[in-house]
Symmetry: C2
Subunit: 232 residues, 2 copies
DNA sequence: GTACTCAGGATTGTATACAATAAGCCCGTA
DNA sequence: TACGGGCTTATTGTATACAATCCTGAGTAC
């Protein structure tokens, strides 16, 4: 114990593979790779200037997180999410988040301070519109994660994060398409109000509406993108 | 070292790491390792007669699946689940399964054949009691997975499986303790009846009761085990 | 006696070498 | 031309070698 003062635990990446994972996730989410793109270990070794060991580890992680597809004894592919899978991801998200708001509305004691603080934040967001799309996306993610955190379930929060990470692939398409900031704000405030009023049914309904709207926006954005792709 | 190329590899597992993962998961679930047990790569290499590469891969998988804990640059530990984490896992399971039965009750068309078949199965189970605990545990798992499958969400099913895999650590304690077969059967039949009657609220309530009972049984089993451990 | 320093050993992180597997191509045959 | 066998090559799976990191404990200064 009593580690030296100079032992600064830099919060950088402890390992090469972690760094590769975040970089690749970022690139994939930004559609820098075409879907079904074939990724070989050697290629990534050259790109990152490291050996196969960390690259392999990174690819395994990406595979379990659903960003690439692994076939035994063959290469990896950047995963092509189909509409079915997006539906499923949104449904899981719905299941988890409905549960969260219900729990929050039913029990009052812990977490309601965070909810009240969140409400103040979003009230000011509503008044201070507009902002950059990017900033709003960040706030939106933070909103949903704060709720899960207030519910006190770290496991659930982790799962939610993993889902949202993958959905980011498509939310990015949507964000670039239109800003619906006002609507989002109102929905978020409604959810928070219901929770504070301990109206769990209302909170569930409001959350459902919020998520379904996101789902629909993403779905139509994808269909648009596909239609455009085929018409050209 | 120099594992003479006696390639009597069973073709069951495509890779060594997969085989190691299933073996270790099994051993951990059966409490063959004390919690917090320190697992080193070298030790597993000797145990399985392979090199570090597949062992490392297996440990990564076990870590992401929540069976061992990894610390950077240090060894791995067999994970010690605390009561808090078990609560969280049960809550996530609750969230997912409540969503599943609600969906199933709300929409009639697909899946209801499976539900009806499941109901027949469990009716016969109720009549044909008793069976071996082991068999009942298998049927119980199958019950919940069939529901998720009937809902048509493979992503959700995968997550549920992962959760139940971890909870198996504690359900094994409980299974050995008592058989509550009749109660389980009745609860399952109630859930299925509500679904077929398209009563989503009833189905949710019944499912909640079923899961909460499992949770309570596990909790008290753990407390008993801890109390016994400390009293000796 | 306490706290600090600094070797030494143990263990993981990374790089590379070798083996096994799967895909592609050439070529021969009907 | 169509088809199939076997070689070649690209790529992953596995083993091992080397580097970096962390824990331990003896030794020393105060």
């Amino acid at each position: 114990m009593a580690p030296k003062a100079g032992r600064s635990r830099t919060r950088e990446f402890s390992s090469l593979s972690a760094s590769i994972v975040t970089t690749l996730k970022d690139q994939i989410v930004q559609w820098r790779y075409p879907p079904e793109y074939r990724m070989t270990e050697a290629e990534l070794c050259k790109q990152f200037g490291v050996s196969r060991s960390p690259v392999r580890e990174a690819l395994r992680i990406l595979a379990t997180d659903g960003f690439v597809q692994r076939m035994p004894n063959r290469s990896y592919r950047v995963k092509q999410h189909n509409l079915q899978e997006i539906e499923e991801l949104y449904d899981v998200r719905l299941a988890l988040e409905l549960f969260v708001v219900e729990q929050l509305a039913n029990r009052s004691a812990p977490g309601h301070d965070d909810i009240a603080a969140l409400k103040r934040t979003w009230t000011s967001v509503l008044n201070g519109l507009p902002r950059k799309d990017e900033e709003l996306a960040r706030l939106d993610t933070q909103f949903h994660e704060t709720l899960a955190l207030a519910a006190g379930n770290k496991t659930l929060l982790r799962q939610l994060r993993a889902i949202n990470e993958r959905l980011m692939l498509f939310r990015i398409i949507d964000f670039a398409k239109a800003h619906r900031a006002t609507s989002t704000c109102r929905q978020h405030l409604a959810i928070l109000t219901f929770i504070l009023a301990k109206n769990s049914a209302g909170a569930r309904k409001a959350m459902q509406k919020n998520i379904e709207e996101g789902r629909n926006n993403v779905q139509s954005a994808i269909k648009d993108a596909l239609a455009r792709a085929y018409s050209l």
